[in-house]
Amino acid sequence: MKKSFIIIMMLTLMLTLLLVGCGKKAAPAQKTDSVKPIKIALVTDVGGVNDQSFNQSAWEGLSRAQKDLGIKASYIESKQDADYMPNLETLYDSKNDLIWGIGFKMADRVLEAAKQNPNQKYAIIDFSYGDKTPSNVIGVLFKEQEASFLVGYIAGKMSKTGKIGFVGGMDVPVIHRFQYGFDAGVLYANPKAKIYEQYAESFTDAAKGKAIANQMYKNGADIVFHAAGGVGDGVIEAAKEKNLWAIGVDRDQSDLAPNNVLTSAMKRVDNAIYDVAKKMKNGEFDGGKTLTYGLKDGGVDIAPTTKKHVPQSILDEVSKIKADIISGKITTPSSKDAFNKWKKNYLK
C-alpha cells in the first residue's frame, strides 16, 4: 500500500518538475549569413515572455529584428527576482553582442553586470541611469505622457458627465507620466472636466481596482483610465458590469471587454528594441545614453481598436494633436510640476 503511494508521489512530482521545467527555451536560430550575425538576447522579468505585456512586446520586437535584419535572437525567462543575475551571466557566457534587461526591476543587476564586464554591451527597458550610465549600457525610456495625452483627449471629448477617473498602480514616476499626461489631455479637450484620481498602491490587487472604479462610477464618472497592471483587470471589469467606459494601458486591452474598453495607451517596447537592433546592424551603439521613445518614433501610440467606439470627427482631431505633439507645438507634462506649468500655458 505504502509503496504504491510512494511511487505515485514520485511520479507526480517528477511529472510536475518536468512540466514546469519546460517553460524555458531558446529560440531557434535562423538565417546564418556568410558574415557572423549580430547576436542579441534578452532577459525577461518575472512576467515571462508571454505576459501579453511588455516582455512579450520586447520579444516580438527582437523576433522581428531576427526576421528583417538577420540578427540572431534569443531569450531567457526569469521565474523570480533572484534569477536576473544568473540569467544575465548565462547570456554573457553565450557570447551575445547585446544583452537586454526587460523592466526597471532589473536595473541594479544590469548595472552590476555591466561594471563586471565592461566589454559587453547591455541595454535596459524602462530605466535610466542618468549621468551615471556606463559607456557599455543604454537606458530606454518611453514618453508615456504622449499616448496618455491622446487617450485623455478622447476621454474628455467622449465623456457625457464631464467626470473622468484615473486609477494608478503605485505612486512612482513612470505612473506619474501616465497620470499627468492623461490629466492634461482631458483638460485640453474639456477644461471644465472633473478628474478623480486614486492610487491602489498595488499592481496586482484586482479587487481593489474594481472597488475604486466602482466608487468613481458612483460619483458620476463615465470613463476610467488605469495605469495599474493587474489592478486594471478590476477596473475594466467594473466598466463591464456597469456598461460604462474604461481605458486600457501598455497594450491594446480591448480583448478584455470589447464593448467597454474605449481605447488604450500603448507602449511599443517592440519598436524600441527593433530600433536599437537596427542601429547595431549599422554599427551604431548609443552607449552611456538614455534613449527616449515617443509618438514620433512609434514608441507609444493609441490602440488600433480605438476607431471601433470613437467617432471619426474625434479621431481626426486626435491625429491632428498627434502631429502637433510630434512637431512640438503641444507639450505634454510628465510630472506634477510640469502639469501645473502646463495648465498655466494652455488653459486660459
Binding site: 505504502k2 514546469v20 505612486d171 479587487a207 472597488a211 483587470d233 471589469e237 471587454a257
Partner: protein
C-alpha cells in the same frame, strides 16, 4: 453619506468573499490536525481552472465546481504527503504553493496559445448576480447588493454549513477529536487517516472555490498575479478567528471592511500619503488582534502527524 456607507459595505462583501471560502478551508483542515499553508497554491490552481473551464464551457457553475475540484486535487496531494507519509506539513504546504502557480502557468500556455493570461469571460457567462435590478437605483441596498455575485451568498451559507457540521454532527465531533487527540480518537475506533484525508481534501476544495471566486466573480480572467497573497491573508484570518468558522468569517469581513475604508478615504485629496493609507487593513488587523481578540489556541494536535503505535 448613507450611500457611501452602502458602497463601503459592498466593497467589504466583494473583498471578503474569496477570503471566507479559503479561510473556511483552513479551519476544516486545521481542526483535523493538519496545518495547511498551501491554501495560496490551492487558490491559484482553483482560480486558473475556473477561468479556463468558464471560458471554454460558458457555464459558471461548472467552472466554479471545477475550480473547487482542482483545489481538492491539490488537497489530496497535501494529504498524501502529510497524512500518509507523516511529512512535515509546513514543507508540504510550501511545495503546494510552488506547485499551484507552476502548474497553472504551464496549463495556461497549453490552453491559451502560449499566453500566461486566460481569455476574458463574457458577463453573461459569469456567476449570476442574484439581486441585481431589484432595488431602486440610489437606494441603500442597491449600493450594497448591486453587482454582488452568487458566490458572495454561497460563502455565507457555507459558513453556516461548516459551523453546523463542526458543532452539531458526529462527523464534526470526530474531526475535532482527531485534531485534539488522535490517539484517543483512534482507540475509540475512529479512523484518523480517513477523517484527516476528508478534511484536507475538503479544505483544498474550499480554497479552490475561493480562487474561483476571484477569477469568475471579482474579475473574469486569470493572470499569475491574481491571487498574490490572498491565501496567506485567509490563513491569518483563520488564526485571527480562533480556528472557528464564524470567527474566521468575521476576521475576513474586518479585513474587507478595512479595504473598503481605504478605498473610500482614498477618494479625498487628504494629506496622508496613499502608502500609509493602504497600510490601514494590516494595522487595523494588528490592533484588533492585540487589543480585543486575545490569545488564540490552535487544536492540540495541529501540525503533528499521527502515526499508529508500532508493535514492539
Amino acid at each position: 453619506m448613507l450611500n457611501n456607507i452602502a458602497l463601503i459595505i459592498g466593497v467589504t462583501l466583494m473583498y471578503s468573499t474569496p477570503l471566507i471560502f479559503t479561510a473556511l478551508g483552513g479551519v476544516v483542515s486545521e481542526k483535523s490536525g493538519v496545518v495547511n499553508i498551501g491554501l495560496e497554491g490551492m487558490m491559484v490552481i482553483g482560480a486558473f481552472i475556473a477561468a479556463t473551464v468558464g471560458y471554454y464551457s460558458g457555464n459558471p457553475w461548472l467552472a466554479f465546481l471545477a475550480g473547487g475540484l482542482a483545489g481538492a486535487f491539490f488537497g489530496l496531494l497535501h494529504a498524501i504527503a502529510s497524512v500518509s507519509f507523516s511529512a512535515d506539513q509546513v514543507v508540504s504546504g510550501i511545495a503546494i504553493n510552488f506547485l499551484g502557480p507552476g502548474v497553472a502557468l504551464f496549463l495556461s500556455r497549453i490552453f491559451f496559445n502560449g499566453a500566461t493570461m486566460t481569455k476574458s469571460i463574457d458577463l453573461d457567462n459569469k456567476m449570476p448576480r442574484l439581486l441585481n435590478g431589484i432595488f431602486h437605483k440610489d437606494s441603500f441596498l442597491y449600493y450594497i447588493l448591486d453587482n454582488q455575485y452568487a458566490t458572495t451568498y454561497i460563502a455565507f451559507i457555507l459558513v453556516f454549513v461548516i459551523w453546523y457540521i463542526l458543532k452539531k454532527t458526529v462527523l464534526g465531533l470526530r474531526l475535532k477529536a482527531v485534531g485534539e487527540h488522535p490517539a484517543a480518537a483512534d482507540t475509540l475506533g475512529i479512523n484518523v487517516f480517513k477523517i484527516r484525508y476528508l478534511a484536507v481534501i475538503t479544505s483544498g476544495f474550499l480554497a479552490g472555490l475561493g480562487g474561483a471566486t476571484l477569477s469568475i466573480s471579482v474579475v473574469s480572467n486569470f493572470r499569475p498575479t491574481l491571487v498574490s497573497g490572498q491565501g496567506f491573508i485567509a490563513l491569518a484570518a483563520m488564526i485571527f478567528g480562533k480556528w472557528k468558522p464564524v470567527g474566521a468569517m468575521l476576521a475576513c469581513l474586518l479585513f474587507g471592511l478595512a479595504q473598503g475604508l481605504v478605498v473610500f478615504l482614498g477618494q479625498f485629496q487628504i494629506q496622508i500619503p496613499s502608502q500609509f493609507l493602504n497600510m490601514l487593513p494590516y494595522i487595523l488587523t494588528l490592533i484588533v488582534l492585540v487589543a480585543f481578540v486575545g490569545k488564540s489556541v490552535a487544536p492540540l494536535a495541529d501540525g503533528i502527524p499521527y502515526e499508529k503505535e508500532q508493535k514492539h
